[in-house]
Assembly symmetry: C2
Homo-oligomer: 137 residues x 2
DNA sequence: TAAAAATATTGTAATGATTACAAGTATTTA
DNA sequence: TAAATACTTGTAATCATTACAATATTTTTA
């Protein structure tokens, strides 16, 4: 597990108390939390933390490439500190989001690649997760 | 160009005046419009059309598989009457959304495919579109 | 070190997309 | 044609996110 403070510094982000706590949470909880979940989780140990700070911080992290935001859930943005390319799956029953590894990345034609500058790729799957498929286990 | 009314009937949707107008707009404008854009476009010829009806109608269309909704733009949902699988690109400068054809679809491992039931796949690219790359053309 | 400047955090209020709801209108059924 | 059903509408509520202004903290500089 990477150290949150060092991770922030390596991305050129000043490691304030709040920022370290938020990054630490993201590194330890690979559940693609939304702002509310981060807020609830950190509120116990940091009662003065404000939700605005979480919004500001995640925005900064994203600009600096320290997290990526996932729009698989239409309701709210979700965040992932694991920025290597991978696909996401959301269960339409329980809402959980999983990382999925691809056997084969999608590819565009050479013509498309020359016309468009691709900066970011997101691959989202939706369906039923293993837990919801066999609930009594 | 497919006829909007027939298209609705084939999907088991009663073709009311409003529904036909909305589907007709989607079939004729492959720009992945959001609710506001549909509303503004149709308001001239149907001044009594309400935005709530557009929301209700698009929800119904989606349930019946007549359109798919795209969450590539975090701000608002966008709609596409072309339901065959294809990827989408959004320009981070002008916001326009393009359809992209894939040379190669992404593939999951057999193990993942047996564990997860995949019902829907969305592939989003972001970057700079051809028009914004060479604006003086 | 102390004052000044810059940066970070906070709480409240505003915004804007979407949904809930209740009433009205149109269509279908009997 | 009357009753039942389905569809549409406008207003109000909800909820995630952003704007903003005031504090607090940290860094810089003299």
């Amino acid at each position: 597990m990477k150290n949150a403070q060092e991770h922030l510094i390596s991305k050129g982000i000043h490691p304030s108390h709040q920022r370290v706590a938020i990054m630490d949470y993201l590194l330890k909880h690979r559940t693609h939390p939304n702002v509310d979940e981060i807020y609830s989780a950190l509120n116990e140990s940091m009662p003065t933390l404000s939700k605005t700070t979480i919004y500001n911080t995640l925005k900064l992290f994203e600009e600096k490439g320290a997290v990526s935001s996932i729009s698989i859930d239409e309701k709210n943005a979700r965040y992932d500190a694991f920025t290597q390319p991978h696909a996401h799956f959301q269960c339409i029953q329980c809402g959980a989001i999983y990382d999925l590894d691809l056997n084969q990345e999608p590819t565009l034609s050479d013509e498309t690649k020359s016309e468009f500058t691709i900066l970011n790729t997101q691959i989202y799957y939706k369906g039923i997760c293993p837990k919801c498929k066999t609930p009594e286990k």
